[in-house]
């Protein structure tokens, strides 16, 4: 039997477009997709019309409560990233539109104060950053993923050096 997500194994990005003529078709496509996500322990977001949401709720029974977000497009898609919208007759300016940079800032988690016990280590090279990451991973445990943590820190550091001379000339 073909998986509801085809050959996708959750390791790379997948973005499927599904076209339907009747609400029942949407339900037939979405229910196995949602159930598979439940089996994998993944969070599910469903943004759909009221009719489709009702049909889905009937098909899923009590499991519908496991859906993390079940909402209407007009509430979920606030139009903040689209400068124009459709007023039913013609394109019109979207009142809630935010320029991309402002939108990204608005959805970033708020900065919180650094914990008092946090250690601050100035580093001036990628190697120094890796040494600190290795030390922290070993001291506090990294679930066997010290290598991953070190390369992540290294990759965070490296772009900050782009465009700057590697060495004094």
């Amino acid at each position: 039997m073909t998986s509801p997500t085809g050959g996708w194994q959750g390791e790379t990005f997948a973005h499927e477009a599904f076209f339907y003529d009747e609400d029942a078709q949407a339900v037939t496509r979405c229910v196995p997709f949602v159930l598979e996500a439940f089996e994998r322990g993944e969070d599910v977001t469903v943004v759909a019309s009221e009719r489709v949401r009702q049909a889905l709720a009937e098909a899923l029974g009590g499991d519908v409560d496991r859906i993390a977000v079940l909402d209407a497009p007009e509430r979920w898609w606030q139009g903040v990233t689209h400068p124009m919208t459709w007023d039913g007759c013609a394109p019109t300016s979207s009142p809630g539109y935010l320029p991309t940079a402002a939108y990204l800032r608005s959805v970033e988690p708020e900065w919180t104060a650094r914990p008092a016990a946090a250690r601050t280590v100035p580093v001036i090279s990628a190697r120094g950053a890796r040494e600190v990451a290795t030390e922290v991973a070993r001291a506090h445990g990294a679930n066997g993923r010290t290598d991953d943590m070190v390369i992540a820190i290294n990759e965070l550091w490296s772009p900050t050096r782009c465009g700057q001379p590697a060495r004094p000339s």
Binding site: S125, R127, V150, N154, S158, R161, A166, R167
Partner: protein
Amino acid sequence: VAVFKAVEIPTGLGPGDHICWGFDGDRAFADAATAFLREGVERGDLLMYVRPKPFADLASDLDGLHGRDRLIATGQLVLQSLDQLYAVDEVHHEPQAEPFRAKAEDAVGRGYAGLRAASDLTQIALDAARWSELRAFELRADAVIGQTPVTGMCGYDETRVHPDRLGALSAVHRLRHRRGAPGTFAVNVVGQVVSVSGEVDLSCVDDLAAVLVAVEDLTDGPVMVDLHRLEFVDVGGVRVLARFVADLGGAGRTVQFRGSRRNAQQLLRFFDLDGRHAT
């Protein structure tokens, strides 16, 4: 065992040691070489001092070497201008490291403990036309010194040689005395096996690329890249390895990897190079 070692003073060295000696100005190398050769006298080595200077100036550099004139007269100290020693081979169009092996074996045959050579190679490093040959020469010399009773000091004036070149030159020496940072990785070649060790990241990928160009010239046929002392490599470093594979592949040559750690294995996979990993 460290893949390379930063060295502060020009003594405490012995056969098999190949040091990149960065210095600041003409006199600084003469002083370092004097101390280096003095230790060679104590060890009973045949001594060579090589710079782009006439004989009298070479001798003058070593005024501080006790018994200098006697050493010259007995043949224990040989002074040579750079061009005499590093003459370009007419067949290979590259300076050859093999004469060092022959000189060392000859020295041992004559009762010396080994050969100790201090050479100021700044002039070659400054010459764009000889930059490629210098890298290949240093890789060859490193292999020869590792197998024969030679103690080698390669001097580079850090006030004149560009830091990019010094980075690549450091990488082909096991011992380094640098006014700047000594580098984070090393490359050495034995036969068709190229060992890359230490740490390679964005700050030194150009140095690795420069050394691998010399490896392409230095080797023939298939190449094995041994990564088992490569403690860290980032995406930029593996991209350089991927380019090396592609360049050799373009010439009908194959590259395999062995001994890579988990970090390197993951990145080799991103570049579809994991299939080239020898089991």
